[in-house]
Amino acid sequence: MLDFPLWKKLSLWAVTLAASLLALPSLANVAGLDWPAALPNPQVNLGLDLAGGSHLLLEAKAGDVRAQRLENMEETVRQLMRNANPRIRIGDVSTADGSLSFMLESAGDIDRARGLIEPVMQGQTTVREWELNVVDGQRMVLSQTDAGIEQAIDDAMDSATEVVRRRIDELGTREPTIIRQGNTRIVVQVPGLQDPDALKDLLGQTAQLEFKLVDLNALPSNVQAGIAPPGSEIFPFAGGTAEQGAAIAVRRLGGIRGDNLTGAQAGVDPQNNRSVVNIAFDAQGGAKFAKLTTENVGKPFAIILDGEVLSAPNIDEPIVGGRAQISGSFTPETANNLAISLRSGALPVPLAIVEERTVGPDLGADSIRKGLLAMGIGSLAVIALMVATYGRFGIYATVALVFNVLMLLGLMALGGFTLTLPGIAGFVITIGAAVDANVLINERIREERARGRKVIASVETGYKEASRAIWDANLTNVISGVALFAFGSGPVKGFAVVLVIGIVTSVFTGVTLTRMFVAGWLRKARPNDITI
């Protein structure tokens, strides 16, 4: 137990010093010193509660994903049936109850219809996304499978996370953290951001742009009463527009969506000096847009953003260049926000903010200062207690304690972990609890000496017998630390990280390092008696 060959000593020192050195850049940073640029500079990240900034938790409305998929399927099916040769006539289309159902006019078309629909039921993955049933011989019912919905939500969230990232990058804020959490949530953290309003405006905008033909046959009185003619739907005009409060009926199908954009810029319409957003379609979108405008010259179409009509201009001439201008009642700011949102792509699903935290910039600096002061006083008290109680063995424990704190800080910097406000409490707990191992060992050595064992035997037995309880105690701490990590949001996770890494480093320094110190001294001094 007390035998330390040279290679073992060297490797223990190498590990200790390497991990401790990693703490120096962070310490220099706290002390306000310049760290030489030539050297590696691992830093402990400060959590939002110490650095100040904004934290947002966004949640997707899963129901919207279902509805969207259903609408897409309806459009696909209609197109397939129309383009079939000979055409398959269908009627009584309904999307109630989350499934798409329709009647075939001729029961003989069943097999042909099935043959056309089945290929589009399968998505890109192996998951069965839709289920097709035939009811009463003539009605086909397409329902979404749970796995299909789950897959769709998963895909939507992946791309939503990407869209959120692009939008935040456009704001130019530094080092945002954007992480998908669970099935339907995204965590956004932006250090240093004090006024998250611009960010929230951006994220609150789904930026789902649609161009749909106005239903000219709808009776105005019905539209205002909210009654849509068959095949049409009613959208309100956006706030701030001239027609605010009014509504308009548009053809439900046959419009196009602004998904295929290559660019969007805020601009000014030279004719009336009003803010507009200029958009450019990609080849596919441009072709669709050209087709829509060519076939409907002279008719009005509605520009719809997130379910509200921005404007409903007349199509004066076919627009074939793949470029278009969106007018509405924009201010330069709202035009710019819309341009950013369109550039970064539409959110595939609307996001709601379910949790938001902003931490002031001064609180963190204040907390770090007070935390360091408390940590300093606490460490001195622990050291005084240990040295007064165990003498030389207390000094060894103290040296181990200093290395423990350095190694803990160094490993946190190396692993890129985040120090949070509760993490400061974690440091203090680690300092107070790290010497527990030494207390157990030293008390056992005292006991063995009192029973009359020789010095070396006492020390050996002390380390051996105490290590069992040290092991058990630290493992239960790790278990509660894991529960903490699993439970916590950011700040609490930071606490858990400090506790768990602290347990590992404290067992290393408190047991292994002190044993090396004690062994070295015993070998050199060969004492007949020890004061402990």
Binding site: K200, G204, A352, M375, G432, A433, N477, I479, G481, L484
Partner: protein, 325 residues
């Protein structure tokens, strides 16, 4: 050099003589805590209650003007605000309920918080904004469920570990000690009405880990002594084990205590509740490892035979064959 000895050598305190009264006291504490939680309720912070919470520091004043703030914010039309001291006399947390449907309007909730802050800084220009948090009712509900789940899971996992490392009686004893420690800590928060937040749950989870350290040291020694003194009566053996480990029980609790006290006094106000919970949990944990974890072993029938390997069928047959059975 004469070294400090907080606990004299060879103490022989009859801890277990008072085991029945102390055990009754522990039960009273547990049920009293539950009663306190039921009667007073916990003063949930924004994490668990949901709503909008603003934290501010009035560094230029000795104490934050809480009654005036209550009136000021109450006049804004968001119902009765909860205004309370937060960790120190200069720091306050102000919580208002969110109107229905706020979740669906981005920025509406924070706008309420911003308005509260603006109103206060108009009256008290020196007030410092520390935080502005929105937690929706749904997320708050999830936090509550997660907290309960995490506490139960941690207690179960730790007890299971003790069971595996020792015997089932030790696992049950540890479990009771944990129920005791967690109940009393939560009860204190119900009694004092200090804000109960995610941080406090984190503190209690840490207590679950650390309060058992003393218990493990005592249990470890009990196991050792059970093997050593086969004939010693159980309560005598427990007393011996507790006495033998008394010095380290006192020292390990004391080192953590002297580290925590400066944090309680000089540390950041926003950590006060958390550190207070851990400090209290530390004492309760030390007490329960002597008076709950130990006596329970006697009542659950731990004897010196508990650690003798169970007799296998082959052993039994061999014994019979030798004519010993």
């Amino acid at each position: 050099m004469k070294l400090l000895k907080l606990v004299p050598d060879n103490t022989n305190i009859k801890f277990l003589k008072l085991r029945v009264p102390f055990f009754v006291l522990s039960l009273v504490l547990i049920f009293g805590s539950w009663a306190a939680v039921l009667v007073n309720g916990l003063n949930f912070g924004v994490d668990f209650a949901g709503g909008q919470e603003v934290r501010m520091t009035f560094a230029q004043r000795e104490t934050a003007p809480i009654p005036q703030l209550r009136e000021l914010v109450g006049g804004l039309g968001y119902g009765d605000p909860v205004v309370q001291e937060f960790g120190g006399p200069q720091t306050v947390s102000i919580r208002v309920a969110l109107p229905e449907g706020t979740e669906n309007t981005p920025g509406a909730a924070t706008a309420i918080g911003d308005k509260v802050i603006a109103t206060i800084t108009a009256e008290y220009p020196d007030a410092r904004k520390d935080g502005n948090d929105t937690v929706s009712g749904k997320v708050a509900g999830e936090f509550r469920n997660q907290a309960i789940l995490a506490l139960l899971a941690a207690m179960a996992a730790v007890s299971l570990y003790i069971w595996i490392r020792f015997e089932w009686q030790f696992g049950v004893g540890a479990m009771f000690a944990l129920v005791h420690d967690v109940s009393v800590t939560v009860g204190l928060f119900a009694l004092t009405q200090m804000e109960f937040s995610l941080q406090i749950v984190a503190a209690i989870l840490a207590i679950i880990g650390y309060s058992l350290n003393d218990t493990i040291v005592v249990y470890d020694r009990i196991r050792e002594n059970l093997k050593k003194y086969r004939k010693m009566p159980m309560f005598e053996l427990l007393d011996l084990s507790v006495n033998e480990t008394l010095a380290r029980t006192v020292m390990t609790s004391l080192t953590l205590f002297v580290a925590l006290i400066p944090l309680l006094i000089f540390g950041p106000p926003s950590l006060f509740g958390m550190v207070a919970a851990i400090t209290v949990g530390l004492f309760i944990g030390t007490y329960s490892s002597v008076y709950m974890a130990g006596p329970l072993l006697i009542w659950m029938g731990v004897t010196s035979n508990s650690f003798v390997p169970a007799e296998s069928p082959t052993d039994r047959q061999e014994k019979l064959a030798r004519g010993e059975g």
